[in-house]
Amino acid sequence: MEVQNLNLTLKVWRQKGPKEQGHFETYSLQNISPNSSFLEMMDVLNEQLINEGKEPVAFDHDCREGICGMCSMYINGEAHGPDDHVTTCQLHMRKFKDGDTITVEPWRSAGFPVIKDLIVDRSAFDKIMQAGGFVSVNTGGVPDGNAIPIPKPNADEAMDAASCIGCGACVATCKNGSAMLFVSAKVSQLALLPQGKVEAARRAKAMVAKMDELGFGNCTNTGACEAECPKGVSITNIARLNREFLCAKFAD
C-alpha cells in the first residue's frame, strides 16, 4: 500500500533559557513519513534547522521506547499528543493529516520551570522520591521468592502503580499543576506490599510534605491526569494516598 507523506506546519515554543522570554516560531516540514514517530519528525526538523545554520530545537528524549519517561512535549493541547496511553516517542505521525498545523509546547507548570525550548526541569520529582519513595532494607542474601506471600490483587495493583515512569504528564495536564497522581503512584506501589507497608505512614507524610513544599498545586479530582497518563495510572491511587496520609496524620 502506498503511503502519502505529510507536509506540515509546526508551531514550536522557543525559549533561550530559564529567565528568557519565550515565543512561538513557525516551521514548514515537507515529506514526513506517516510511519515515523513524533521524535523522528523533530529530528528531521532539527536537521533542517542545522542545515539552515539555525539553532536546533532542544527537547528531552532517551530510550525512545516508552519506558524512560524523558520525552515530554504538549502537542496540540495534550500531553504526549493526540493518542491514548503513549509517550511522545510512541506517537506516530499517522495520527496527523497532511497540511496540519501542529502546536508543540513544553510542560507548563510552576513546578517544572523551562530550561530551554521544550526541555523542563523535572528534578522536583527526584526530590519527592528522595523524601520517602523508597524502602529501607538490610541487603543481605537473596530472599526466597515465595518467602512473603502477597495476594494477587495487591501484587497487580502495586504493579499498575509502579508502571508510572515519572514523565510529569500528570502535572503538565492538571489545571492546578498538582503532582498527586505521581506521588500517589509512588506511595501505592510500596504501600500495597508487605515490604513497603512498614514505612507507609512516614512515607506518605514525607512525600506529601515535600510535594507541598515544592509548590505543586492541590488535587481537585478532575481526572485529567489519569486521562493523559501514558501508563494509565488510575486516580484510585490518589484515594489511597489520601487514605494513607490522613490515617498517618490522625494516628500522630
Binding site: 496540540n76 489545571k175 499543576g177 479530582n221 496520609f245
Partner: protein
C-alpha cells in the same frame, strides 16, 4: 521529622473542604425535603417554619451552617489561589479537555461563586425576612416571619425570580455532581469498585435535590398564574 498540623498540608485543607461540603449535601437534602412539603400542603410547610423559627435549635443550626460556609469558601479561595500559582505564569496556547473530565470539575470555583451570589439573594429574600425578622422582632410587609408560604408565593410569582433560581439550581447541580464523589475521593474513601458507584450516586443525589427545589419554585409560579 517535623510534624506540621494537618491543615497546613494540601490534603488536610481538602479534607476540610470535603467534610464541610458533605455537610452541605445533608443540609440541602433536609432543606429540599422541607420545601417539597409546600407543594402538597402550604399549611404544613408553615408549621415546619414555625417549628424552626428563631428557636434555639434552629439558631444553633444556622450558626453551624454559617460557620461551615465560611470555612468552605475560605479554604476554596486559599486552594484556588495556590493552584493558580502552581499552574505558573505561562499558559498553554492550545488545550484539549479529555472526554472523561467533567466540565464541572474544572469549574468548581466559578460555580461556587454563582452559588454564593445566589445565596446572597436567597438570604435577602427569605432568611432576612423570616428568621432574622423574628430575632429582630420586625414584620415584613409580605408576611409574618413564620408565614413561609407567603414569601414563597410572593417571590415565585415573579418570572425573573423563577429564572434566577433556575440558573442558581443548575449551578448547584453541577457543583454537587462533582463535589459529592470528589469529597469521598479526598477522604480516601474510594477505590476501583466504588469510583463508578460514587460518581453515579453523585448525579442521582444532585438531581433529586435540585429537582425538589425546582419543583417548589415551578409549582408556586404555576399556582400564582
Amino acid at each position: 521529622m517535623s510534624n506540621p498540623c494537618l491543615l497546613s498540608s494540601s490534603i488536610g485543607k481538602k479534607f476540610l473542604m470535603s467534610i464541610t461540603g458533605l455537610f452541605f449535601v445533608l443540609f440541602l437534602a433536609f432543606h429540599a425535603t422541607m420545601n417539597a412539603v409546600h407543594i402538597f400542603s402550604p399549611e404544613d410547610y408553615n408549621a415546619i417554619c414555625k417549628f424552626l423559627g428563631a428557636n434555639w435549635y434552629a439558631l444553633v443550626g444556622t450558626a453551624v451552617i454559617a460557620l461551615g460556609f465560611i470555612i468552605h469558601i475560605a479554604y476554596a479561595t486559599i486552594l484556588t489561589i495556590q493552584n493558580r500559582k502552581a499552574r505558573g505564569t505561562d499558559r498553554y496556547d492550545s488545550e484539549v479537555r479529555p472526554a472523561s473530565v467533567e466540565w464541572a470539575s474544572k469549574n468548581m470555583f466559578a460555580l461556587g461563586v454563582i452559588v454564593f451570589l445566589g445565596l446572597g439573594l436567597h438570604l435577602y429574600m427569605f432568611w432576612s425576612k423570616m428568621q432574622l425578622a423574628e430575632i429582630m422582632g420586625t414584620v415584613d410587609a409580605i408576611g409574618a416571619p413564620a408565614d413561609g408560604s407567603a414569601f414563597i408565593m410572593y417571590w415565585f410569582s415573579k418570572p425573573w425570580v423563577v429564572v434566577v433560581y433556575m440558573v442558581w439550581l443548575v449551578a448547584i447541580w453541577f457543583h454537587l455532581t462533582h463535589g459529592f464523589w470528589s469529597a469521598f475521593q479526598t477522604m480516601g474513601w474510594n477505590n476501583k469498585t466504588w469510583m463508578s458507584r460514587l460518581r453515579c450516586l453523585s448525579d442521582i443525589i444532585a438531581t433529586i435535590i435540585c429537582v425538589a427545589f425546582a419543583a417548589v419554585v415551578i409549582a408556586a409560579f404555576c399556582m400564582s398564574l
